[in-house]
Amino acid sequence: EDQVTQSPEALRLQEGESSSLNCSYTVSGLRGLFWYRQDPGKGPEFLFTLYSAGEEKEKERLKATLTKKESFLHITAPKPEDSATYLCADINSGYALNFGKGTSLLVTP
């Protein structure tokens, strides 16, 4: 059974304190690994899609990387506005998207 596991469940950082969020997946025949940001009361906002091991993508203070069994979301010098829940999901050969439970990030000034 396809499982997506995110860690940690919650993370508190000081502004400027860099860290990484982890997403491990078990699906075989990965068609894509997605990262989203979700603010309270809103729908998930698309950040990145990664398709093959070794791939990296960047957007402002965020960088996503992918290996054969996990993905990392690196946050460099975070700001309070980066506080949100970060979700990852894999997509299998049938194009069903399976989500982890998310990491709740709080960045304090």
């Binding site: 894509g32 997605f34 698309f46 398709y51 069903a96 998207l97 989500f99 439970k101």
Partner: protein, 113 residues
């Protein structure tokens, strides 16, 4: 912003009544999904569609049915709503392929009393 809208955005209903949520897209994307999001469970897939009249079940499909008679519309129906179906429902669209991006709507909050 991706052209995806959900309706209604908020609904309160009573146990045993039928409810239909609508997802409408203007992107002509092939794949459409319905998720529910609950505290402690994250986003769970209810049903998804890979084309007109082509649908498949997700992990929490019991008590839900879907229909897709046009590319742009994906309907989620609760035939007889129960309190356990109180949730926030999200629709998503995906173009497929190795460069596609998957976008979500703003959600529909359903309360079943």
């Amino acid at each position: 912003d991706a052209g995806i809208t959900q309706s209604p955005r908020h609904k309160v209903t009573e146990t045993g009544t039928p409810v239909t949520l609508r997802c409408h897209q203007t992107e002509n994307h092939r794949y459409m999904y319905w998720y529910r999001q609950d505290p402690g469970h994250g986003l769970r897939l209810i049903h998804y569609s890979y084309g007109v009249k082509d649908t498949d079940k997700g992990e929490v499909s019991d008590g839900y049915s879907v229909s897709r008679s046009k590319t742009e519309d994906f309907l989620l129906t609760l035939e007889s709503a129960t309190s356990s179906q109180t949730s926030v429902y999200f629709c998503a669209i995906f173009s497929g392929g190795n460069t596609g991006e998957l976008f979500f709507g703003e959600g529909s909050r359903l309360t079943v009393l």
